[in-house]
């Protein structure tokens, strides 16, 4: 039987089952890494082309069936040219002398919102993980808490804004700043995917692995660290990413509903007033918000690259 073992090793070495290629495929070359970026740019270009095509083909007054307008007006007021919107980014914010260019103002507001979103992401992740742990550990907690977690997402964020603001004002331990209200409201949106995703991940190990750990007389914390947490990574990463985009979305909405100045949400609201006088301007903070979402989910995706080995699937015989 030793020849059998040697034979299998020889087969593996001769390249029928080359062990290295799998790892090389897992860590793609620079060209491979640029592929998604290229596809992303292509998608943006396609969208711009589509925009211009609609503008060129659909009449100014839109396109109506009877009284029902099914395609929007395509005047320069309603749909500015792509080039115009881009050019507007380079122009000064206002007509005042010494005003910053628009792109800088948008980036600055975006930075403010991103910082708040990062805080609310952190809060959401911590709360979500703790809830998932609780629900994994105690069956009773799962049946009690999970419906509440799901129910919590039916409360509109706008309804929360005055509540959170009011509670914050009553806290005397620290001076409650407006951005804290925004962070708390946004984290309310961010914790949900983490709680649900982590719960699924932590309960994903199959009976075989749980039997194995029971056979080792492993404690619950050992089972958590060596089995449940690693097994939850493939579920956790998309949840964290979803939480990041939720946090950005939550911050934008919460800025509007609490009236906090300085962020991208407020900027969207303010610039909407220029729709008739400076039609390209309201689009700038919208681009900013999209960029924010991309940066946030990209940052979380980077986290995932370090956890690649936990995304291997077991190939059973």
């Amino acid at each position: 039987m030793t020849t059998g073992v040697a034979g299998e090793a020889a087969v593996a070495a001769s390249g029928v089952m080359p062990p290295r290629t799998v790892r090389r495929r897992a860590l793609p070359g620079p060209l491979q890494a640029l592929r998604p970026v290229g596809l992303g740019i292509a998608a943006v270009l396609l969208l711009a082309l589509l925009w211009e095509a609609v503008k060129a083909l659909v009449p100014d007054d839109g396109w109506s069936i009877g009284d029902l307008r099914v395609l929007p007006r395509t005047t320069d007021l309603a749909m500015p040219h792509v080039t115009e919107m881009l050019a507007r980014l380079g122009d000064p914010l206002t007509a005042q002398p010494g005003a910053d260019p628009l792109w800088l103002a948008v980036l600055r507001a975006g930075g403010t919102s991103l910082r708040i979103a990062a805080v609310s992401w952190l809060i959401g992740v911590v709360v979500g993980l703790l809830l998932a742990l609780l629900m994994t550990r105690f069956r009773i907690a799962r049946s009690a808490v999970l419906p509440l977690v799901v129910l919590s997402q039916t409360v509109p964020l706008i309804a929360l804004a005055p509540l959170v603001k009011g509670w914050g004002a009553k806290i005397e331990v620290l001076t409650w700043e407006p951005w804290m209200s925004v962070a708390v409201i946004a984290s309310y949106l961010a914790f949900f995917p983490v709680a649900v995703g982590t719960l699924r991940g932590l309960t994903s190990p199959d009976a075989l692995h749980r039997d194995l750990f029971a056979g080792y007389a492993a404690s619950w914390s050992q089972e958590l660290v060596h089995l449940r947490l690693p097994a939850s990574v493939p579920h956790l990463l998309p949840a964290l990413r979803l939480a990041a985009t939720s946090a950005v979305l939550g911050v934008v909405v919460a800025e509007v509903s609490t009236g906090m100045p300085g962020g991208i949400g407020r900027m969207i609201l303010e610039f909407a007033n220029f729709a008739s006088s400076d039609p390209a301007k309201p689009w700038a903070p919208i681009f900013g918000a999209v960029l924010l979402g991309l940066v946030a989910s990209g940052a979380v995706a980077l986290l995932g690259t370090g956890l690649r080995r936990y995304r291997r699937a077991e190939v059973t015989a």
């Binding site: 075989l208 059973t316 015989a317």
Partner: protein, 268 residues
């Protein structure tokens, strides 16, 4: 060390539910230290249930089980046995080496000792060159060898195996059987081995326990007596005594379950 490896005394296991199922009834079995015992029988005869009871992954509704003279639960908590299942059950995010080290690290064995033991185990199952590979880079047979190495890592005096070669092709299976015979000779561990292949049971075992279904009970025990594990080679598979034992087990199976045809038993 006069205590038997496993002592099963009048054990029954009833699964309560809408329809109460008696999985095991009046089972008595003794497995001596260093003895290789196979459990064989049709599907649903409770052979896997019996193994789970010995491993304390499930508790009997009546009777008692002791492992090396103490209750099964204490034996589990004292890490008295190693266990392997039909699926290798390796952790996909751990390398082969780290998988073998898993029970050791759970039980607080130091890094150096762990490494040393893993090297020994890798050599034992012939996978030294694959130590840093991940399970998904291995064939099914290699994964199962890692699982056996993991089960042996803590030098258990008792090895529990639930159809460990059941999912493998015939050639790999025979090779791993020969390896298991050699490993058992080296480690002197007692083995309780669940299978539904008669040739496999006969080739590996000192004794074959034949079980019948509904309710699961022991129908007969065949003393194979083909010599100690260390003396068995592949030529044994063509030996007259081997065929005699295969016939004896087959007759025990069919005689013991004359009312019910013995389904699910491979006679290949």
């Amino acid at each position: 060390m006069t205590a038997a490896a496993v002592q099963v005394t009048d054990v029954g296991r009833v699964f309560a539910g809408e329809r109460t199922v008696t999985a095991l009834e009046h089972v008595d079995l003794t497995v001596g230290a260093g003895e290789f015992v196979s459990l064989i029988g049709p599907s649903g005869c409770g052979k896997s249930t019996l193994l789970r009871l010995i491993a304390d992954l499930d508790q009997p509704t009546s009777g008692a089980i002791s492992v090396f003279g103490r209750p099964a639960e204490q034996a589990r908590l004292a890490h008295d046995y190693g266990i392997a299942f039909q699926q290798a059950g390796l952790l996909p995010w751990r390398t082969v080496r780290a998988n073998i080290e898993l029970p050791l690290s759970l039980h607080g064995v130091g890094r150096g000792a762990r490494r040393e033991r893993a090297d020994e185990m890798l050599a034992l199952v012939g996978l030294t060159d694959f130590a840093e590979h991940f399970p998904d880079q291995l064939s099914g047979g290699m994964q199962q060898r890692v699982a056996i190495a993991r089960a042996l890592a803590e030098r258990p005096s008792l090895l529990l195996m639930d159809e460990p070669f059941g999912a493998l092709d015939e050639m790999t299976r025979e090779r791993l059987q020969s390896e298991l015979v050699r490993i058992c000779a080296e480690t002197q561990a007692a083995v309780v081995f669940v299978t539904h292949s008669i040739p496999e049971a006969v080739f590996l075992s000192d004794r074959v326990v034949v079980m019948s279904a509904r309710p699961g009970r022991i129908a007969g025990i065949v003393d194979v007596g083909l010599g100690r594990a260390g003396e068995r080679g592949d030529d044994l598979r063509e030996d007259g005594a081997y065929f005699a034992a295969v016939t004896a087990v087959r007759e025990a199976l069919h005689g013991g379950a004359s009312a019910v045809p013995a389904r699910g038993v491979e006679t290949r």
